[in-house]
C-alpha cells in the first residue's frame, strides 16, 4: 500500500530557512483527489495504532510513503 505524507514548510529564522513538518498521512485509497468518499488522516504519533501499523508495513517493505507538499498558498 502507498501512503501520502502531507507536509508543510515554514520559515524558521530570519534567513528564510525552511523547516519541513509532516502534518498527517493518508492511505492512497482515501487520499485527496480520490473523490467525495471516505478519507483517513493519520497523525504522526507513535502511540497511534494506525501510524504504528503503517510504519510496520513500511519497515516490512509492504508499504511506501510519498511526501506531498501541503503548505497553504
Amino acid at each position: 500500500m502507498k501512503y501520502f505524507a502531507y507536509y508543510t514548510t515554514k520559515h524558521v529564522n530570519s534567513n528564510l530557512e525552511h523547516e519541513k513538518k509532516i502534518l498527517y498521512y493518508m492511505p492512497e485509497t482515501s487520499a485527496k483527489g480520490v473523490g467525495n468518499g471516505g478519507q483517513i488522516c493519520i497523525p504522526l504519533d507513535p502511540n497511534n495504532m494506525d501510524y504504528a501499523r503503517m510504519m510496520e508495513e513500511v519497515e516490512a517493505g509492504t508499504s511506501t510513503i510519498e511526501e506531498v507538499d501541503d503548505t497553504p498558498e
Binding site: G33, G35, Q39, D45, M49, D70
Partner: protein, 564 residues
C-alpha cells in the same frame, strides 16, 4: 443431776428384735429390726451379737448387708439370741450455718436445684485467676489469667480491648460467621489474610487476595456492550473495529466473514440483567479451515491501567474472567489472555458450552503471570480474545502462560463454519483475584466517558448531523480547531466515513451558500485537539466568514480514533 454446759451426745444404740424363733440350723440370713423397724448397720462391728451367751466375732462369725445379718454357721433351733445395734446410717439433718467447709465435699457435685452464687466469683482454674463473675447486676464478666477479657450484658457480648473473638475458617456453604435463619450466608476465611463473603452458599466477593478496588473492579471497558458509537460493521480486514466501542477483530487468512452489531434483542437473546450484546452474524462461512486461519474478537486493555496486577513479579495477582456467551455450538470453546508487551505471551483457557444457541455464564480464573511484562504506558497491556476461527498455527497448550501469539487449544472449534451461525457475547468482566463476582453494571454515561478516550464519533450512533464552526481561510478552504470531549489516548486518526452516495458527505456553508467537501486535512493533532481543514472546489465567496462544517446526514460520519 443436770449437766452443765452442752449436753453429752449419745450414740444411737438399740436392742435388736429377737429373731431366734427363725433358727432352724440351715437359714443363716435373718432380717434386722429394732422395735419392728428395719435397721441398717453401717458395718458388722456396729452390732453386738450373742448366740447362746457367746459373743460372735464380727466379720468372722457374721456379716451384714443392708438390713440383713448372715451367720457363718446357721444357728439351730433352740439357740438363744440377743443383739444390740450401736449405730446405723442416719440422716444428719441440716448442718448449722457456716459449718460445712469445702474439705467436707468430694467427688462430682450435683445440685438438685438452682445453684445461686449470688454475685460471688466462680473460680475455674487451679491458680484461681480464671473465673466467671456477676458481681455487677445483669452483667457477666469472664476473667482469663486475672484480666476481664469478655463481658455479657443484656443482648450484648463484648470482647474487651486486646481480646478477640476468633472463629473457625468455615467454608463457602457453611460460613464461620452466619445467622441462625440462613446458615449458608455469612463470612468465612478461605485462606490466610483472606475474608470471603458468601450468600446462598456462593462466594460473592473476597477481601485480601481479591480486594475491592478503589475504582471500577472491571478492567474491561464496555464489557456490557452498552456503548456503540459506530453502526453495524461488516468485518473484512484485520484490525476492523466492532460497532461496539473497545472491541475489535484480529483476522488472518480466514475466508470467514461476519457482521458485528450491538444486539439489543430482548428476552432469550439477552441474559438477565444485560440490555445489549455483541453479535457476530456469519455471512461467509469458513468451510475449509487452514492452519494459518484465525479470527478473534478482541478487547484491549490499556497497559497503564494494569500496573496493580504486578505481572512480572513474584507477587503477580490472579485475575478472573467472567462473561455470558451464546454459541452456535456446544462443547469445548476457548478464550485467551494475551500480553502484547511480552512478545505476545498468552494463556489459553477452555470452557464448555452445554447447549448450543443458549446463553450461559462462564467464570475462568487465570494465574498471575510472574514471567510477564506489562509496560506502564498507553499501549495495550492485555487483550481478551475470543477465537471464532483458530487454525493449528494459532493453537497451543491450555492452562499455562507461554510465549507466542496463540488463541486456542487443540479442542477449539470453528464457530464460523455455517452462515446460520450467530455468536453473542456480553457481560465481559476481568477482575483481580480468584473469584468471579457479579458483573459491575456501569451507567452508560461513565462507560461512554471511558470510551471517548479511545474513539469519538460526534453522532455516537444516532442523530442527523455533526457540526463544527470554522474560519474561512480562502474561497476553497475552511479550518476548525477540534477539541475532543476528553483527553484521548494518543493523537487520533481522523476519518470521514462516506457512503459515496449522492447526498451523503461533508458540507461547508457560509451565511448563504453550501458546498460539498472535496478533501480534508488533519494537522497538528495531539491528545487534546487538532486542526481540521476542509476543502471544496468553489462557489463560495471571499474569505470573510465563520463557516459551518457539517455532515449532510447520518450516513456521513466524522470520527476520531485513538484506539488500541
Amino acid at each position: 443431776m443436770p449437766y452443765m454446759g452442752k449436753s453429752p451426745q449419745h450414740g444411737n444404740y438399740s436392742k435388736i428384735d429377737d429373731f431366734s424363733g427363725d433358727f432352724d440350723g440351715s437359714d443363716a440370713t435373718h432380717a434386722l429390726a429394732s422395735n419392728g423397724v428395719a435397721i441398717t448397720p453401717v458395718r458388722p462391728e456396729a452390732l453386738i451379737i450373742s448366740i447362746n451367751g457367746v459373743i460372735q466375732e464380727p466379720t468372722t462369725d457374721y456379716t451384714v448387708s443392708g438390713t440383713n445379718i448372715t451367720f457363718t454357721t446357721a444357728p439351730t433351733s433352740g439357740d438363744n439370741f440377743f443383739g444390740v445395734v450401736m449405730g446405723e446410717q442416719l440422716a444428719i439433718g441440716t448442718p448449722s450455718d457456716a459449718t460445712v467447709t469445702s474439705a467436707k465435699l468430694s467427688g462430682n457435685l450435683v445440685t438438685p436445684g438452682t445453684l445461686d452464687v449470688n454475685g460471688q466469683e466462680l473460680i475455674l482454674d487451679a491458680d484461681a485467676d480464671t473465673s466467671i463473675t456477676a458481681d455487677t447486676d445483669d452483667q457477666i464478666d469472664i476473667k482469663i489469667a486475672g484480666a476481664d477479657d469478655f463481658q455479657f450484658t443484656a443482648n450484648t457480648f463484648t470482647a474487651a480491648s486486646g481480646s478477640v473473638v476468633a472463629l473457625d475458617d468455615g467454608a463457602v456453604a457453611t460460613p464461620a460467621l452466619t445467622n441462625t435463619g440462613d446458615l449458608n450466608t455469612g463470612v468465612y476465611f478461605p485462606a490466610a489474610d483472606t475474608v470471603g463473603v458468601t450468600a446462598g452458599g456462593t462466594e460473592q466477593f473476597r477481601f485480601g487476595s481479591n480486594p475491592i478496588p478503589g475504582g471500577s473492579k472491571n478492567l474491561v471497558i464496555n464489557g456490557g456492550i452498552t456503548v456503540a458509537q459506530r453502526g453495524s460493521k461488516a468485518v473484512t480486514t484485520n484490525g476492523d473495529r466492532a460497532p461496539t466501542d473497545m472491541w475489535s477483530v484480529m483476522l488472518d487468512s480466514s475466508a470467514g466473514r461476519f457482521t458485528l452489531t450491538q444486539d439489543s434483542t430482548t428476552g432469550a437473546a439477552v441474559p438477565l440483567g444485560h440490555g445489549y450484546s455483541l453479535k457476530a452474524d456469519c455471512t461467509t462461512a469458513e468451510g475449509s479451515l487452514a492452519s494459518g486461519d484465525v479470527i478473534v474478537l478482541r478487547n484491549n486493555i490499556e497497559a497503564q491501567n494494569l500496573q496493580h496486577l504486578r505481572w512480572g513479579a513474584a507477587t503477580a495477582k490472579d485475575v478472573t474472567l467472567s462473561f455470558w456467551m451464546s454459541s452456535p455450538k456446544s462443547g469445548t470453546h476457548c478464550v485467551t489472555l494475551n500480553q502484547p508487551d511480552s512478545s505476545s505471551r498468552h494463556y489459553i483457557s477452555e470452557f464448555t458450552v452445554a447447549s448450543a444457541d443458549t446463553w450461559e455464564h462462564f467464570k475462568i480464573t487465570i494465574p498471575g503471570d510472574t514471567g510477564g511484562t506489562i509496560n506502564n504506558d498507553t499501549g495495550a497491556g492485555l487483550s481478551i480474545n475470543f477465537p471464532l476461527v483458530c487454525g493449528s498455527t494459532y493453537q497451543n497448550t491450555k492452562d499455562t502462560w507461554a510465549a507466542g501469539e496463540d488463541y486456542g487449544s487443540g479442542s477449539v472449534q470453528n464457530l464460523l463454519d455455517n452462515t446460520a451461525n450467530n455468536i453473542y457475547i456480553t457481560g465481559v468482566q476481568l477482575e483481580v483475584g480468584s473469584v468471579a463476582t457479579d458483573f459491575a453494571h456501569e451507567d452508560i454515561g461513565t462507560t461512554l466517558q471511558k470510551c471517548l478516550r479511545y474513539f469519538w464519533d460526534p453522532l455516537q450512533g444516532g442523530g442527523d448531523t455533526a457540526a463544527f464552526n470554522g474560519m474561512q481561510l480562502s474561497t476553497t478552504r475552511v479550518q476548525a480547531v477540534i477539541q475532543y470531549p476528553v483527553r484521548m489516548r494518543a493523537a487520533p486518526t481522523f476519518a470521514v466515513i462516506d457512503t459515496g452516495t449522492t447526498g451523503d458527505g461533508i458540507q461547508v456553508q457560509d451565511h448563504s451558500t453550501a458546498a460539498w467537501m472535496t478533501s480534508t486535512s488533519w494537522s497538528y493533532a495531539n491528545q487534546r485537539m487538532g486542526w481540521l481543514a476542509v476543502d471544496w472546489s468553489g462557489g463560495i465567496g471571499a474569505a470573510q466568514y465563520t463557516m459551518r462544517i457539517y455532515s449532510a446526514n447520518a450516513n456521513t460520519r466524522m470520527q476520531w480514533s485513538a484506539e488500541i
